[in-house]
């Protein structure tokens, strides 16, 4: 591309090839333009609710009832945010969500990868029956489990504790199944070589197997973290203490905090504060998240 500086490319092309073969020669892909416009229109429609939430959160209370509603606030104010922070331990709630999601994810990674490895590589009596039982539990909806689980966790004294939020989520039949499938897909030769060198099973697992398990662990981590971070029903049942609330739970109480009419600017400010960090993290690790979700589908 050594076009003389100062001559726009379009001009030079039309100068060389006048009107004879216009669109076809340059293959102006009208189809691409149409598809791009459609994709853009759909994409804008998808993010409109976020824009609406942001706009609402920046409005003073009086502007909420303006008709027609303003998508760009006339007199933006941070008043609603100040109010959320004043009335609610938002940083604390944020920390709770992060702690619970990280702990749950780490627990699942360790426990599921070890159990998955056992199912993939060990031979022992009853293995296949046990694995079938794992698969069978996958079909059971959470609604079946929830009543007795609540009673068990309460009896353990874990109501209103971090343990109650974290521990039941650390064990996943799906995660075990997922890791087993991965281990079955990698060749045994490396492990056998390590054994000949005298390494034990645990040493082989940690030093030889785990280092090549990265992609599967990343997928499981993404799914586990997203599940825990957005989990609502379980924290709703097990947590009453405001200091232990996770983000979704805290958000849901925001709408009931104001007797009578819900103050939507305050609710939306809370929603924006809860959502923006999630979206930023997603944009940073987008590739992993999307591959993780797609991977769960392909393997399922």
């Amino acid at each position: 591309m050594s076009l003389p500086v100062g001559i726009p490319q379009g001009q030079s092309v039309s100068a060389v090839k006048p009107a004879a073969r216009p669109a076809a020669a340059r293959r102006v892909p009208w189809r691409t333009i149409v598809l791009t416009v459609v994709a853009l229109a759909g994409g804008l429609l998808m993010i409109t609710p976020f824009v609406w939430a942001l706009a609402t959160s920046l409005k003073p209370r009086g502007a909420l009832l303006a008709l027609p509603p303003q998508l760009v606030p006339a007199e933006p104010t941070l008043g609603a945010y100040v109010e959320v922070i004043r009335r609610f331990p938002f940083l604390r709630v944020f920390g709770n969500s992060a702690l619970v999601a990280v702990a749950t994810t780490l627990g699942q990674l360790v426990i599921c990868s070890m159990a998955g490895y056992a199912f993939a590589r060990f031979r022992f009596w009853g293995r296949d029956a046990l694995f079938t039982l794992y698969l069978a539990t996958l079909m059971v909806p959470f609604a079946v489990v929830i009543t007795p689980l609540f009673i068990i966790v309460t009896r353990l004294g874990w109501a209103d504790t971090y343990a109650g939020l974290i521990v039941p989520g650390m064990f996943s039949a799906f995660g075990t199944f997922f890791m087993r499938q991965f281990f079955l897909s990698i060749p045994k030769e490396l492990e056998e070589a390590a054994t000949i060198d005298g390494a034990g099973t645990l040493g082989t697992f940690v030093r030889i197997v785990l280092p090549i398990t990265g992609p599967a662990l990343a997928t499981l981590a993404v799914l586990s973290f997203m599940g825990s971070w957005n989990s609502f029903l379980w924290p709703l049942l097990i947590i009453n203490d405001r200091d232990l609330m996770t983000l979704p739970l805290a958000l849901s109480t925001l709408q009931g905090m104001y007797p009578g009419q819900t103050q939507w600017n305050i609710v939306m400010a809370g929603t924006v504060m809860a959502t923006v960090p999630t979206i930023l993290v997603f944009l940073l690790v987008q590739r992993w998240v999307i591959e993780g979700v797609a991977g769960s589908g392909v393997k399922g």
């Binding site: 691409t32 070890m114 039982l133 689980l149 009673i151 958000l251 709408q255 959502t275 997603f282 999307i290």
Partner: protein, 289 residues
């Protein structure tokens, strides 16, 4: 697994022990207890009393249960075809060679990573009959929008639309993975043979995408049977019970009315429905050549 003798069992216990203990305590034991509880009457105060099939008989004669079931099926019938269609269309759109594909993909996917509670709150406000953006947009066309979440005829429609918006990106990503597995040569060959683009969609894309479509259909059906978060935040089952759904009623019976046995029985009906769907799709997938 190369250890011998008792060490062998030690290694098995080390790898499998935590998982087996945890899943027994927090999944298997609750499943069995729930099945047992469904044959009892228990209000958490007195010990459970065995009542046989009474809870199940009561369910079958309870108009609220049938209403709940009908609402759940209404949700499913509206949500599943819509979300599969939008997900497939967006996937086909973003599989074409257009600029900024990554940016578009992110735009469609953002609702998936957002928590249901946040989404439900935003849409509740969007659906506000007077001050919400949706009715205001409809109003510019000269039509008065419905009262949405306040109208028994429209509340479920609003819940369905919200759910479709949230899950389109999820279906899109799985469909995109499936689409990328179809070799481009097939389309080139078809186009040389004079096939149009819509013909390509129906004769190449959809047949080759069938396993992916079936997978998406089965997980969206199973998910739809268990719809809860959005209903709880947006309507709490209202107005006038128009959005009462199975999981929401299980939770309400167990934790608001302390009818543990009845709630358990209801949850086993839900399991039965999911079981039938799962077995059906398992057969379909095995039946495929």
């Amino acid at each position: 697994m190369y250890e011998r003798g008792w060490r062998r069992y030690g290694v098995i216990a080390l790898f499998l022990g935590p998982s087996v203990i945890g899943l027994t305590a927090f999944t298997l034991l609750p499943i069995l207890s729930s099945l047992g509880l469904s044959f009892t009457d228990w209000d958490l105060l007195r010990p459970p009393a065995f009542v046989g099939l009474s809870n199940y008989r009561h369910l079958l004669g309870d108009p609220e249960f049938w209403r709940t079931l009908r609402n759940t099926v209404t949700f499913l019938v509206g949500y599943v075809p819509l979300v599969l269609t939008t997900g497939l269309l967006v996937a086909v759109l973003l599989n074409a060679s257009i600029p900024f594909r990554q940016v578009f993909r992110a735009m469609y996917f953002v609702p998936v990573v957002t928590s249901w509670v946040a989404v439900a709150l935003v849409w509740k406000w969007l659906f506000n009959p007077v001050y919400g953006l949706i009715n205001s947009a409809i109003g510019t066309l000269g039509i008065t929008g419905p009262a949405w979440l306040f109208d028994p005829n429209w509340a479920m429609v609003a819940v369905i639309l919200t759910s479709v918006w949230k899950d389109t990106g999820f279906v899109m990503v799985i469909m995109l993975a499936g689409l990328q597995g179809i070799p481009r040569e097939y389309y080139e060959a078809a186009s040389i043979d004079g096939a149009s683009r819509p013909q390509g969609l129906f004769h190449i894309t959809i047949p080759l995408l069938a396993p992916t479509l079936i997978f998406c259909l089965s997980i969206s059906l199973i998910g739809a049977f268990q719809v809860f978060d959005q209903v709880y935040v947006m309507t709490e089952g209202g107005p006038a019970g128009a959005t009462m759904v199975l999981v929401e009623r299980v939770v309400a019976n167990a934790f608001s009315y302390s009818r543990m046995g009845y709630a358990s029985a209801m949850s086993w009906v839900l399991f039965l429905l999911i079981f039938v769907v799962t077995v059906f799709f398992y057969r379909i997938r095995r039946w495929q050549p």
